[in-house]
């Protein structure tokens, strides 16, 4: 039965070329849509590398405070923060905190490698505040105050790209132009841009232990849930009295995250609409084509039925034929699709492409069964005497 199916299709190859091409094209469209969708999903589902909950963000702007006062005021602020019993921890950092729109990117190199990375200026409490996971080595501490080279912590992605593995990076040197840096630790990729971004070079980031008086910093406070409201009011008040001329803006990190997600929503929605439109087009295209091709075969269906084929057998045969045709189109399509993971096009991981291939193949088969069933079933029910008139 299957053998005959192939024979029939092979003998009709010219007639089937259009269908065959439609399958090929549909597959490529689906493959593109699924690749895109899966990479987004994977992005969204993979860990951020930090914990953003219950963090209160205080943006400081020292306006035109005289320079000699800034450092002094910052020290006062820090001491004030240390005096609160109810906060879990706090940290001063550069502007590019998680979910912010700021970024600082620079180029770093070793003997043989060179990469771009996000630069974070942070203090010793930063890792604790964000529950950053240290994979190798350690986070910054007091001992770094006296080191010869500037100590840095790399993200896993950056360590792997520069040194081949996270473990190999420890105690190694990295160059930032003339400046030599020493790696003291490696942490999980820190995706501060949020769920929909992988970050520079697939997650390259480098942390500097910095005094924060060069640029207005951001103070982040992890607050105890219970004491939240009253504590925040107290802190705000104390900050105003310590630094009366400074502009202070406060936010919750989770609100910043929501804002970021919302801004990603519009392009995502547009892409989803386009994808949906493509999918509907593919489905309609296949449906029309299958309908046409099946209705052209009424004569043959009449002959088969007069020879003893039942309606069900006719339906199965027609669907089977379309599945075989689809497979031909898919084989060619697969040949193209396979190149994407092999050549590592667009830098997406192979698992995304392989998943997209599987999903596209499955959807094509599903579409074929759905789109072929209705016309096949209709055609199989045509009275034989009528069907034979079409011969």
């Amino acid at each position: 039965m299957i053998r005959l199916l192939f024979k029939l299709i092979w003998n009709q190859r010219r007639k089937h070329f259009g269908i065959f091409f439609e399958f090929f094209f549909s597959f490529l469209v689906l493959f593109a849509v699924f690749s895109f969708g899966f990479s987004y999903l994977k992005q969204y589902l993979s860990p951020l590398g930090f914990d953003y909950k219950d963090i209160w963000v205080v943006e400081l702007d020292w306006n035109d405070t005289p320079e000699e006062e800034i450092s002094e005021t910052l020290t006062l602020l820090k001491n004030q923060m240390l005096s609160y019993g109810q906060i879990e921890t706090f940290s001063f950092s550069g502007k590019n905190i998680p979910f912010s729109t700021s970024s600082a990117i620079d180029e770093f190199s070793t003997e043989g490698e060179q990469v771009d990375a996000d630069v974070f200026k942070v203090d010793d409490r930063f890792a604790e505040l964000f529950a950053v996971n240290v994979q190798e080595g350690r986070w910054f501490g007091e001992e770094d105050a006296v080191s010869t080279y500037s100590p840095v912590v790399l993200t896993a992605s950056m360590a792997e790209q520069l040194f081949g593995s996270t473990a190999a990076a420890i105690e190694q040197q990295v160059q930032l132009r003339e400046q030599t840096l020493k790696v003291v630790g490696v942490v999980d990729n820190f995706r501060y841009r949020g769920e929909f971004s992988r970050g520079v070079g697939g997650g390259n980031g480098i942390f500097f232990r910095k005094d924060l008086d060069s640029n207005p910093p951001i103070l982040m406070v992890k607050v105890d849930q219970e004491a939240k409201a009253s504590l925040e009011a107290t802190i705000r008040q104390d900050l105003r009295s310590i630094a009366p001329g400074w502009v202070i803006e406060t936010n919750y990190l989770s609100d910043l995250r929501n804002k970021k997600l919302r801004s990603a929503l519009v392009p995502l929605a547009i892409v989803l609409i386009i994808s949906g439109f493509l999918l509907v087009n593919v489905a309609l295209g296949l449906f029309g084509l299958l309908w046409q091709s099946i209705s052209k075969r009424r004569g043959e269906i009449g002959i088969r039925k007069s020879m003893g084929s039942s309606n069900t057998e006719i339906t199965i045969q027609l669907i089977g034929e379309m599945l075989v045709l689809a497979s031909f189109g898919l084989i060619i399509g697969l040949f193209f699709a396979i190149q994407f993971p092999i050549l590592n096009v667009f830098g997406l991981s192979s698992s995304v492409y392989v998943g997209a291939i599987i999903a596209a193949v499955a959807s094509i088969y599903l579409l074929v069964i759905l789109c072929a069933y209705f016309p096949s079933n209709q055609a199989s029910k045509l009275p034989i005497a009528n069907a034979l008139r079409f011969e």
């Binding site: 039965m1 053998r3 005959l4 024979k7 029939l8 003998n11 009709q12 004569g299 043959e300 009449g302 002959i303 088969r304 039925k305 007069s306 020879m307 003893g308 084929s309 039942s310 309606n311 069900t312 057998e313 009275p383 034989i384 005497a385 034979l388 011969e391």
Partner: protein, 227 residues
Amino acid sequence: MISLQNVEKVYQTTSIETVALDGINLEVQQGEFLSIMGPSGCGKSTLLNIMGLLDEPSAGDVILNGSKITGYSNKQLARFRNQNIGFIFQSYHLINDLKVIDNVELPLLYRNMSRKERYDLSVEALTKVGLKNRIDHFPNQLSGGQRQRVAIARAIVGKPTIILADEPTGNLDSRMGNEIMDILLKLNEEEGTTIVMVTHDESMALKTHRLARLFDGTWVEEKAFQH
């Protein structure tokens, strides 16, 4: 073998109602070769289609090989056709995209049979119609007479007890027509296959056992011949 009792067939179209068969009774004995004649549009094809379970009567009963065919599901009808009836049509009705051998195998596909068995039976049937050397041709590479012989091979490959032929020589010249007729006569004589044939050719009808004439959906004359 074949028994029709008060068979009526009315075609209902939007504007008009055509009575194609009007109370037809018919008995065909096993091993009989019956020919049916009548002017165009008198209901011959309709009658043959009903006999062959390709169409349902509007009223009346069809009894084939002792079974009353009423209320059969499409699957049961398909099986019955497949096991018992072979069809030959005026315009051959071969599948042009299949080779001769595959066309002939067609009825066997719906039986439980190995590929080898199907092939052997098909070659045997093609040998009977003298086309053994054409098995790998496509229908459009054959003459009309050869195509009709392929159709006969396809009709007999499953060894049915009944063959229904609707103007099998209608598209052929007299020489090719005679060849086809000879094959049918031989089939009837040697294998005892019951044959009902619609024809426009009186000389063909004279070679059969009995001739029945149809006019406007009713019988008008019946003659038996002694050979």
